[in-house]
């Protein structure tokens, strides 16, 4: 009741301010008049009476301020006043405001962009119904390793057990796609259980998803396109439903387009389309994937069931199945147990390995924000110093100290808010930068980077924090001193602000130290990268073109693939501009995972080695020197004796210093151990991984071992690689347009992809370092210029007394460089701490690498010296006559 009244009366005062104020005015005036009249009755003169009343009862103005500032509406009102005043002050200095807002916006924007990416990659929950109740199943294998891949039958078992409200499966692979008679294109398709969309509670953007029949177990060739594939390949055609496409040459009908915000349950993965898994017992010769017997499994907990409880029940329910299942029993490393993990964020997928890089970047961005805040604080302090007189006047006419602090604070808050808004804009325009560093191989990494609520809160939080940091110090600083000093115009007052100057120096020292740590990080990663690049074993990698192709094994039998690939190599080799052409199953920097095998010499010695399956001419194409013996030739075909080429390390390990040529080794081929004759020895290279010293390696002959998805390698002579690439594509279309060719890139790009984690950190740290260094230079320049301006008189006197230009210059420059020295002295140990944390990400560089540290310190020194030099020069131009007359 009284609250209501208070609000009502407050509103009344706000809206009828003039009248209410007039009332109060008249009432108070009346009060004081009456008191004065009383005094006059006692015989005082009217002047004395007024004075006495003012002393006894308080003056009219002060009383008015006291009474007025008691109601809540007046608090609101002063905020409003502060806000308007703040806006006025900021718009009056557009230059200052722009620089300040941009500086801070860069800091906030960098943080927001990186946080947004990290959030999307690591922390975001899936955009599906009730993600908290989702769990993913993990297989614990015989050797105790965990794997996401489970026998599909497990899903059926879990459905029957009733532990979960529902269960889905998913798996994916490349498919040949064609539409309206187009040539084959490669797409990545996800095979999902028919209840996929219903389970996740997502409504397709177009259509209904899989038909009811399919959901009930009547399989039909239906396909749901992803939103982005629909945009890209079908031009967002709203009439695609019912159209027919071909996957591995089998016709499928489009029944839907998945919603825009749904990518997939695997973070970073956005398959082009989804098709329903076939029920057990059915299969389609065109695609083994449709009846895949392994899949990843996700389930939804029944309400009120915890994960631990569900895990115990699920494991128990599946034990019998796992023991009996033929598939699992005959597996080399069968599943023994089932774990249940929370699945609200989906599977981590390929992005998981960038976790460390992303976290490091989040940290580095934080350092950038600190530097920008320090810079801005320093700017505001400088400005507060020049505003001393204004503040003093305002204090003298009745503004309380808290009011002044609040005023300064409001200005900072306004600055911070503007910077936050600009920062968000920076974030959305640079959002893709980080993704651009990640390798886009035959499966693209895609992230939904539209900022979610968490990113917005994070940005808002940073903005508030920055506002507090940049506002509090200058506000307290400028009102902490005796303000009346500000009214005196003698020079004592203007040099009396030593506290502010010291504070600004401290801030600049902090900036120097922080930017040193950023630069040091960039320097170390840059050196690591240089080391890695130097380790690149292949000459002129930008002249080697890679084409991946995929003859679907369901459509092309081994013999046909062999003929096709031989034809490809033969015809590509004769194209103009092509020096060599050859095939490799994986090729350099390919995925090494399955490409390991044990080689046994005839004396029983065994070596685990990397391997690849290559065609004749690959060593020449890549530029791997043949040390001994010969390369494969077209005559080494399936009819002739099996041969292999080994690298020098393997030869050395198996045969010591003996000549390995002509020696026999046993190696697995298609599940059997086969005897091979060694026909050649090549130089050992970092074939699969630039980060590791070369392991032993050997090469099968493609004509004898049979490829699955070979990559065509083409070494270009003097011709333009792009021209050759288009020629190769054209020629390939002539040979067989039903085989998709995709992921065309140079060997250099592929090498860069393997360095993505280092490049990500190194490039962004360098950018951040450069930004911080610029801010330091600007800040230092500002500080020195200010100091020179304040010391004009002193410098004038020195010059008048005979100081040389050089002395003046070193006097000023030393003042600035001292700050830099202290900053470096503090920054070095801090940087050592920081870089030691990242030691694991460096390659062949010690985290305390003296060369890197010396280099970045030198760069820092040069830039800051320049920043001091300009004001120092200006100081030497001080004319003593002008300077001494100045005040």
């Amino acid at each position: 009741m009284s609250l209501l009244r208070s609000i009502a009366s407050g509103l009344r005062s706000l809206f009828r301010k003039e009248r209410v104020e007039g009332d109060l005015d008249e009432e108070l005036r009346g009060f004081l008049d009456m008191a004065a009249q009383e005094k006059m009755k006692e015989g005082m003169s009217s002047k004395d009476a007024l004075r006495a009343v003012r002393l006894e009862r308080g003056s009219l103005e002060v009383t008015k301020e006291v009474v007025r500032s008691a109601g809540w509406e007046s608090v609101m009102e002063t905020y409003w006043q502060d806000l308007r005043f703040g806006l006025r002050v900021l718009t009056k200095n557009p230059g200052f405001t722009t620089v300040a807002v941009l500086t801070l916006a860069l800091g906030i924007g960098a943080n927001a962009a990186i946080f947004n990416t990290a959030n999307a990659a690591l922390w975001r929950t899936l955009p599906v119904a009730d993600p908290q109740s989702l769990v993913r199943l993990v297989a614990v294998r015989q050797d105790h390793r965990e794997s996401n891949s489970l026998p599909v039958g497990v899903a059926e078992e879990l459905r029957r057990s009733g532990i979960f409200s529902d269960v889905i499966t998913r798996t994916d692979d490349g498919l040949s796609f064609s539409y309206n008679g187009s040539g084959a294109e490669r797409v990545v398709g996800e095979v999902v259980s028919p209840n996929f969309f219903a389970f996740l509670g997502i409504r397709p953007a177009l259509g209904q998803g899989f038909s009811v029949g399919v959901q009930k177990g009547q399989w039909a060739p239906e396909v749901v396109l992803s939103y982005r594939f629909w945009q890209r390949r079908f031009g967002s055609d709203p009439h695609v439903l019912g159209h027919s496409i071909r996957l591995n040459n089998y016709p499928f009908t489009i029944v839907g387009v998945s919603p825009q915000d749904f990518y997939s349950l695997v973070v970073g993965f956005d398959p082009e389309l989804r098709v329903p898994q076939m029920p057990p017992g059915q299969s389609l010769s065109q695609s083994e994937l449709l009846s895949s017997r392994y899949a990843e499994i996700m389930a939804r907990l029944n309400p009120g069931i915890g994960i631990v409880q569900a895990e115990a029940a699920a494991d128990a329910a599946c034990q019998q199945f796992l023991r009996d299942d033929q598939l699992n029993r005959h597996e080399v490393n069968p599943t023994r147990h089932i774990h249940v993990m929370s699945g609200g964020r989906g599977w981590q997928g390929d992005l998981a390995k960038y976790r460390t890089s992303l976290l490091v970047l989040v940290g580095l961005a934080g350092v950038v924000l600190l530097v920008t805040s320090f810079n801005l604080t320093s700017m505001l302090l400088a400005r507060a110093t020049t505003r001393r007189r204004e503040l003093a006047v305002r204090a003298a006419i009745g503004a309380g100290r808290s009011r002044l602090v609040r005023q300064m604070f409001t200005e900072s808050a306004l600055l911070a808010m503007a910077a936050g808004a600009v920062g968000l804009a920076i974030m959305s325009s640079t959002g893709n930068t980080i993704l651009g560093f990640l390798p886009q191989g035959h499966i693209n990494l895609v992230l939904d980077l539209s900022p979610d609520l968490r990113t917005l809160w994070f940005t808002a939080g940073l903005t508030v924090l920055a506002g507090v940091v940049i506002g509090l110090v200058p506000a307290l600083q400028s009102t902490g001193n005796n303000l009346t000093l500000g009214l005196k115009s003698d020079s004592a007052a203007s040099t009396g602000d030593s506290r502010g100057a010291i504070f600004r120096q401290a801030l600049t020292i902090g900036q120097v130290a922080l930017s040193l740590s950023l630069l040091a990080t960039a320097g170390l990663f840059e050196r690591s990268l240089a080391n890695l690049r130097a380790a690149d074993p292949f000459p002129q990698p930008d002249r080697v073109l890679l084409f991946r192709m995929k003859p679907q094994k369901e459509l092309y039998d081994d013999q046909r693939i062999r003929i096709l690939t031989a034809e490809v190599v033969r015809r590509m080799s004769t194209l103009p501009g092509v020096k060599f052409a050859a095939l490799a199953e994986e090729g350099p920097y390919g995925s090494r995972g399955a490409m390991r095998a044990t080689v046994r010499a005839s004396d029983g010695r065994t070596v685990d080695a990397d391997m690849d399956i290559v065609s004749p001419g690959l060593f020449a194409t890549l530029g791997i020197p043949l040390l001994n013996g010969r390369d494969f030739s077209v005559r080494d075909d399936e009819g002739s004796k099996p041969v292999v080429v080994v690298d020098e390390l393997l030869a050395q390990r198996l045969f010591g210093s003996d000549d390995p040529i002509g020696k026999m080794v046993e190696a697995p081929l298609h599940g059997n151990d086969v005897a091979f004759e060694i026909i050649g020895v090549v130089r050992a290279t970092r074939y699969y991984d630039l980060h590791q010293t070369p392991p032993s390696m050997f090469f099968y002959n493609l004509q004898q071992a049979g490829p699955y998805m070979p990559t065509l390698h083409v070494r270009v002579g003097s011709a333009n690689p792009e021209f050759v690439a288009s020629e190769v594509r054209r020629e390939f279309g002539v040979i067989d347009r039903d085989v998709p060719m995709f992921d065309v890139r140079t060997l250099r790009d592929r090498a860069l992809d393997t360095l993505a984690q280092q490049r990500l950190v190194s490039d962004l740290a360098a950018t951040f370092g450069a930004l911080a260094l610029t801010l330091v230079a600007v800040g230092l320049y500002g500080l020195m210029a200010f100091s020179v301006a304040q010391r004009t008189r002193e410098i004038g006197i020195r010059v008048a007394l005979g100081a040389e230009r050089k002395q003046i210059m070193s006097l000023v420059a030393w003042q600035g460089m001292r700050i830099v020295f202290i900053g470096v002295a503090l920054g070095l140990p801090a940087s050592f701490l920081l870089t030691n944390l990242m030691a694991g990400m460096l390659y062949n560089v010690h985290p305390d690498d003296p060369l890197s540290f010396a280099t970045v310190t030198f760069i820092l020194g040069m830039v800051t010296l320049l920043a001091c030099y300009i004001p120092a020069r200006r100081a030497t131009c001080v004319d003593p006559l002008v300077a001494l007359r100045y005040e």
């Binding site: 009741m1 006894e56 009383t63 009474v67 008691a70």
Partner: protein, 110 residues
Amino acid sequence: MPDKPSDLVQGTLDMLILKTLALEPMHGYGISVRIEQMSKGVFRLNAGSLFLAIQRLERDGLIDGEWKATENSRRAKYYALTDQGRKRLSSETREWGRQVAAIARILEAS
């Protein structure tokens, strides 16, 4: 004046104003004079605290203000007790009595 005017016990000003207005409606200066007289000069109010209290009481609905002419034929805002104010005064008086008695007992205990 025998002594320097002393400060009011915290929170008692509202009660004193209510008490003053219980006799008859009065303007601000009248209230302050009356309190000064009744306290024999012990309490002297400055304008700030007086009007703060008046504003508070008016906002809480304990008193009601009305512009009227004074005997010296100038305008002044006269405040009168509302029913609610009357109730509040009697409850506060009772409470005050209890407290004073209690404090006195404590002080005389030794």
